[in-house]
């Protein structure tokens, strides 16, 4: 894994975490439902950094094996994988003390896409360095 990919992964993870925390606050003000026992600033930073670093590792593997086509394959896999992960917040069983589980997907489903959006937003900035 190159320094550039690690840097891109970390930056995209941080950006996704910032976006997720902003969205978390907006959702709380809109619904006044507290899901902080499941989703909170620390868990959002950890989740987004972890996903972005795994994505970076996958990017490195794919570009190592498939060279230039690796980036195309990666984008496809990352997008489809993110879309498939939508099922996680929809199917998850929350603690019974959590109010209004019906509204949890409204908070968590958009967040599933934040890492891939962040990655693709900053990707052009790192293209020159990688190629």
């Amino acid at each position: 894994m190159t320094k550039t990919i690690l840097f891109q992964s970390t930056i995209s993870g941080i950006l996704a975490a910032i976006a997720a925390n902003i969205y978390d606050r907006i959702y709380y003000f809109a619904t006044e439902i507290d899901y902080s026992n499941i989703i909170n600033p620390v868990s959002l930073i950890g989740y987004n950094l972890m996903v972005s670093l795994i994505a970076g590792l996958l990017y490195w593997l794919l570009t190592s094996f498939f060279k230039k086509r690796g980036a195309i394959i990666f984008n496809f896999v990352y997008s489809v994988g993110s879309f498939a992960c939508v099922i996680i917040p929809i199917s998850i069983t929350l603690p019974l003390t959590t109010p209004f589980p019906e509204l949890f997907p409204g908070l968590a489903v958009p967040m599933v896409f934040f890492p891939v959006i962040a990655w693709m937003t900053i990707d052009p900035l790192f293209k020159k360095g990688i190629n």
Partner: protein, 174 residues
Amino acid sequence: MKKQPYLLATVALIVASAFTFIQSQDWKIANGYSVKFDAGDPTGEFTGLKGTIQFDEKNLAGSKFDVSLDATTINTGNGMKNTHAKGANWFDVEKYPTIVFTSSTISKTSSGFEAKGTLDLHGVKKEIVMPFTLVNNTFAGNMEVNRLDFNLDDGKHPNMPTAVKIALSVPVTK
């Protein structure tokens, strides 16, 4: 001497009438109760418990439960499952919004008590036996209900156990 039978009858009536003043204690359902169910998947709980509890272990004949649960309060911890459970294929809460248990007799057992009565669930009334204890002003009990007895089946979940475990814990105050 002829008056003695009348005297005895009068005394007997006075004594008997005294027992009419012995009433079971009324209990109020306190906060912090839980009515949990376990059907493998899903598990969850109901809130919205209300009703009257008259219970005195020294006067079981005069004791009675008449309680109801708001079926719309079912919570499995998953919004999709909650919607599904409230729907027409399961509890059909629009048509049957409450679950009612009315006891007919309460008796003492080796481990506590048991209440026999009618459970009105999903439009079906069926006799059930509910074992329970009363410790530290908390009624607690575990039982199993066969969901098929109450037509709770959508035919799409063959692996779901038919016996649903129910765990009750109901703190009460006088």
